[in-house]
Amino acid sequence: MYTQALNTAEADDRSLEDAAQAATFQARIDAEVRIEPNDWMPAAYRKTLTRQISQHAHSEIVGMLPEGNWITRAPTLRRKAALLAKVQDECGHGLYLYAAAETLGSSREELVDAMLAGKAKYSSIFNYPTLTWADIGTIGWLVDGAAIMNQIPLCRCSYGPYARAMIRVCKEESFHQRQGYEIMLTLCRGSDEQKAMAQDALNRWWWPVLMMFGPPDATSQHSDTSTRWKIKRFSNDELRQKFVDATVPQAQYLGLTIPDPGMTQDADGHWCYSGINWTEFKQVLAGNGPCNRDRMAARRKAHAEGAWVREAAAAYAAKRVQRQTAQAAE
């Protein structure tokens, strides 16, 4: 679903193995030539990307939980099928992204273990609960909408496997976003009860969604290197502003009120939002969001309870190889 600007890569230029190789590498990036898995790359570039891609993958997988919470309760069969297909797409995104991360030399198992151990992050947004059906519409509309803002530029990321994965992911995300908006539209054209449900969901999700773009530029110290490496092409605040400008008219069309009474429009037409509660953001990242514990517990439970299945598959595969070898020897 989405990657968050959480990277705090220690861009340690002192560790560059070879100044000449580094210069060639940067020249390729400047010329918009994609970096591929077998190409030389600085250790810090590898580390930054491994962290970013795996965080993105973890976010897709943990992101299955809040929406999965409504698969068994979707209000119609059409909605049920669409939601199930959507959550399945997210799982697929997680798989592509783990595969992209693996091209940098870390295995899926290592990356997943780091997440389950609480050492790797996933997007803060999935630590909020889905309480009503309108939350499913709101997540599609706003969370996927924010994800698209973040991910479209990643389709031009300097690292080839990540950029290519993003192209496919973005296509599916924009479908999800339209689907979410359509759920909201249905609610907003429905009964008073349904409209209230839609407004309540927007009230709860608006600020956490703005936090998805990461800390403000003034406090984000490490964007420079990511920008130089063309991993990141827009700053957190630039993306956040683009998102707000795109979303306000959509909310107006729905007849919903953005829960920011101080919001104004400037002379250039940009919507200026009020201060974001960064203390809340830091608390959620520190593990104190409403659902952090539940999300981690659910992933750990699935992993632990699935261990015997994975062991059985491995044992059977090994037996097959053994039998084939024995047959070949006869």
């Binding site: 069969l77 059409r78 959550v87 399945q88 799982c91 059906w133 299945v309 062991e311 059985a312």
Partner: protein, 258 residues
């Protein structure tokens, strides 16, 4: 305000379509419960995929049941506004997921049957049912392959997986007989060439099971006592909980468009 159950005029054709629709919906719902919680991401994908196929089959069959009934029911009313005594699914499909072995054995028993059943139904004189059968058969063939591969992996994997797979087979076996039973109404449809007699499939179904279970180093139970009742609304206690979750939105917010 409680929402009244709809009334359905269960003519033999309506009942026929409802039974198959209920099988597909309930099994699809059960599989969807795994989404986000499976032993590996590939199985989150696969089980969701199978669930989507089954929910798709259910939608077509409900729509056809509503059309055959000719009142103002539709797929959602049939799915969301009938209570446990009006549901007509097999006891097998409503059994809880249990562990991964129980889910896959349930799927294996059902898909081995559904694959044969829908293939035979492609010759139905009812063109809608024949078309639904043609689509469902392709899907069931894949479901059967997926389940068979897992039965073999689990049976011939580790001691633990073998024990779990055998326990699941022993537990679910008594729910398989119901798949082959036919009542008078359905007998009439069989005579008319609209339905096929599932009893004629039992031999081939057993052959499929024996082949896979044998390769998996597992055994089929000798016990031939079979539990029945789902087709006439005498269900296990599990179904009521499933329905209260499935139907919660439609029961809480009656008559709204979603």
């Amino acid at each position: 305000m409680p929402v009244a159950n709809i009334q359905v005029s269960e003519t033999p054709l309506v009942l026929y379509a409802l039974r198959r629709a209920d099988d597909a919906l309930i099994l699809g719902h059960r599989l969807s419960e795994w989404c986000g919680h499976a032993p590996m991401l590939e199985e989150d994908m696969a089980l969701s995929n199978i669930a989507l196929d089954l929910i798709g089959q259910a939608r077509e069959l409900y729509t056809y049941a509503a059309k055959a009934e000719g009142k103002d029911n539709d797929e959602d009313k049939l799915a969301y506004l009938r209570d446990i005594r009006q549901y007509r699914d097999l006891l097998l499909v409503e059994q809880p997921n249990g562990d991964f072995a129980q889910t896959l054995v349930r799927q294996f028993f059902y898909s081995a049957f559904a694959d044969l059943y829908w293939r035979a139904m492609m010759t139905s004189r009812d063109t809608t049912l024949a078309a639904i059968a043609a689509k469902s058969e392709k899907e069931s063939a894949y479901h059967l392959r997926h389940a068979s591969e897992w039965i073999i992996r689990l049976g011939d994997g580790t001691d633990e997986s073998h024990a779990r797979a055998q326990a699941a087979i022993d537990h679910l076996w008594a729910f398989t007989g119901e798949m082959f039973a036919v009542d008078d109404g359905e007998r009439a449809l069989i005579h008319a060439g609209i339905a096929i007699d599932p009893g004629t499939l039992r031999g081939r179904w057993l052959t499929t099971l024996s082949d896979v279970v044998g390769e998996a180093t597992l055994v089929l139970p000798q016990n031939d006592w079979m539990q029945q009742g789902g087709r006439v609304g005498r269900h296990s206690e599990h179904l009521g909980h499933l329905l209260s979750e499935l139907q919660s939105m439609q029961r809480t917010f009656p008559g709204q468009t979603w």
